[in-house]
Assembly symmetry: C2
Homo-oligomer: 335 residues x 2
DNA sequence: TTGTACGCGTTATCAC
DNA sequence: GTGATAACGCGTACAA
């Protein structure tokens, strides 16, 4: 019933031209007060709502930014999205999200689908080789990369210093008296996980300890599985650095189940500082990457790029580097 | 630089008409194989990407659905979004999200901004009076309400049977031997919280017990604060039903801090079954509303409405009612 | 101040 | 099969 009412209908109902109707509705000042009222009244009665796509086409401006994440749920991404939401709100922008499900092809596909529907792109693709994206992604659109390794493809980006974070985690465990420190790694193809692994290895070298790396995939299940491996060996480690908080959480569950005391028998630290770390028992030490801030600041950066026409986008490609902050909680505090 | 390349550019480069170019790119069959190849080659070389808004305008079809939630982060909404994402993916739809921040005006505003940019709307507005929305929201757009009270404004919807869920929670605690059962309520203006409160009150009446209701706002902080109140009174309750899981979680933290044993001294149960309940210690009993499924099924419902042109949308406004399922974990298991 | 007419990038309907 | 051309709904020079 009733195809949606257009500006034309409103103009007709108000007895003015479509141009005047447009002006009145958009609050331009070159309209008689009387005309404005007539138009607004008509619009109200007809329940007129501007057609987004048409407006976007005419103004080549959507007031929407596209967000492409590996996934759009879970503690980690949820925090990212929150940051983006807050920033977007402040800038009067809307958000078109899409999950790439860890696939580069999907990410590119999503980006293509967003062309002409967003003013800029915020993408996080930690698994992607820089070259995989650089050529295919930017369709003359302002773009900011979140996470990933530094200076990825010369795109403006916000990255976490995963390497020094990992280094700090190891040093912390060492200071707490740990001498056999194991690591639960993230997905092999994940660039951030790779950096964290490097930091761990260098940290152990620095301390003169020998490393033990267990495979993982960033899920709590992987953390749980990893401790099963550890429990089966002759000697347990006395320190455990998980590449992210979810795996640290899974590890604590497994250890508690086995009656291992945390942090006395084994100290644990994660990475990211997602909310649930505070609710775990014991609360889990971690490295606060400022997930929320990453989202918010990325959006601000993108927003700025959009405003200035994204002129020399890559010129000012000053990749902001976020240095994670050590957060010590009960899971690793031994004194 | 270089204004984005259009279909016209591609057509010109391939030496065909814009119409043929369109056909070739959209895979229609009435094109010579040779023309198709020329067009595709040109498109590839020019890095052509279809303009979403223009396509939407021409086809009056966006392949996008708008999602309006009170918030777009946190465990609960994250799960909803996950469900929607899965459903959307299956239907080849994109998602335009917006948080209303608990404000009806904001929700309506968001919906207006989405007009002409989406094919349908998925909205959750638990604080909204049915009448507040029914008139202002549907701009000739297929719409499905998530949550809220049943049959809200005759719109097709997916609602949780909060009342019987709450009733079941109370019965469970009673069966476990609890005789002084307190309730931490949700926000007063929240319709779902109201239903849960009703269920609680009727449940206590049924058991012949006297109720104690503490105020809350669905945050863990509120749960924590509520137990401080309880700890200060002469006699502690021996059972606690929180209107949602986050408050139940906050309550367990407060109680553990005070050295109160769960579930021996006090049994606890929440509502919603968000992921974190499983990681808490002890794991928290709850009522599984199937948050994920609500998202997914809402989308499926909406998708169906869109396909069939939303003809008699409200005719088939068969509000699907989800009956929550009791999930007993350590926090309330006394035997 | 107001109205006319064109353009935004695509799709779809025609003739050819 | 292919190519003009009219929508789609709106903003906006430009002219009046």
């Amino acid at each position: 019933m009733a195809a949606s009412v257009t500006l034309n209908d409103v103009a007709k109902a108000a007895g003015v031209s479509i141009a005047s109707a447009s002006r009145a509705i958009n609050g331009l000042d070159n309209v008689t007060e009387e005309v404005r009222e007539r138009v607004l009244a008509a619009a109200g009665k007809l329940k007129y709502v501007p057609h987004g796509a048409a407006r976007a086409l005419a103004m080549s401006r959507t007031n929407t930014i596209g967000v492409i994440l590996p996934d759009i749920y879970g503690e980690f991404f949820s925090e990212i999205i929150r940051g983006i939401d807050v920033g977007a709100r402040a800038s009067g922008l809307h958000i078109l999200v899409s999950g790439s499900h860890g696939d580069v092809k999907e990410a590119v596909k999503a980006a293509r689908a967003m062309a002409g529907r967003v003013d800029g792109l915020l993408v996080m693709a930690p698994y992607a080789d820089a070259d995989d994206l650089s050529g295919k992604l930017p369709f003359n659109l302002p773009l900011v990369m979140m996470g990933g390794v530094g200076g990825q493809a010369d795109l403006p980006s916000l990255v976490v210093d995963n390497y020094s974070g990992a280094l700090e985690a190891v040093r912390h465990l060492h200071e707490q008296g740990c001498r056999r420190i194991a690591h639960i790694a993230g997905p092999e193809s994940n660039l951030e996980a790779q950096d964290r692994l490097r930091g761990y290895l260098d940290g152990l070298k620095e301390a003169g300890l020998s490393p033990q790396v267990l495979p993982g995939d960033f899920t709590d299940g992987a953390g749980y599985a990893a401790v099963q491996t550890l429990l089966a060996q002759e000697q347990m480690p006395d320190g455990l650095f998980a590449a992210n908080d979810m795996m640290a959480l899974g590890a604590t569950l497994g250890l508690r189940e086995a009656g291992v005391s945390i942090p006395d028998d084994i100290a644990i630290i994660g990475f990211d500082d997602i909310p649930v770390t505070r609710y775990a028992s014991p609360p889990i030490s971690t490295l606060r990457a400022g997930v929320f801030d990453i989202g918010r600041r990325s959006l601000e950066l993108l927003s700025a790029l959009i405003e200035r026409g994204s002129a020399e986008a890559s010129a000012s490609a000053a990749s902001l580097i976020v240095r994670p902050e050590l957060v010590v909680r009960a899971s690793s505090r031994r004194r």
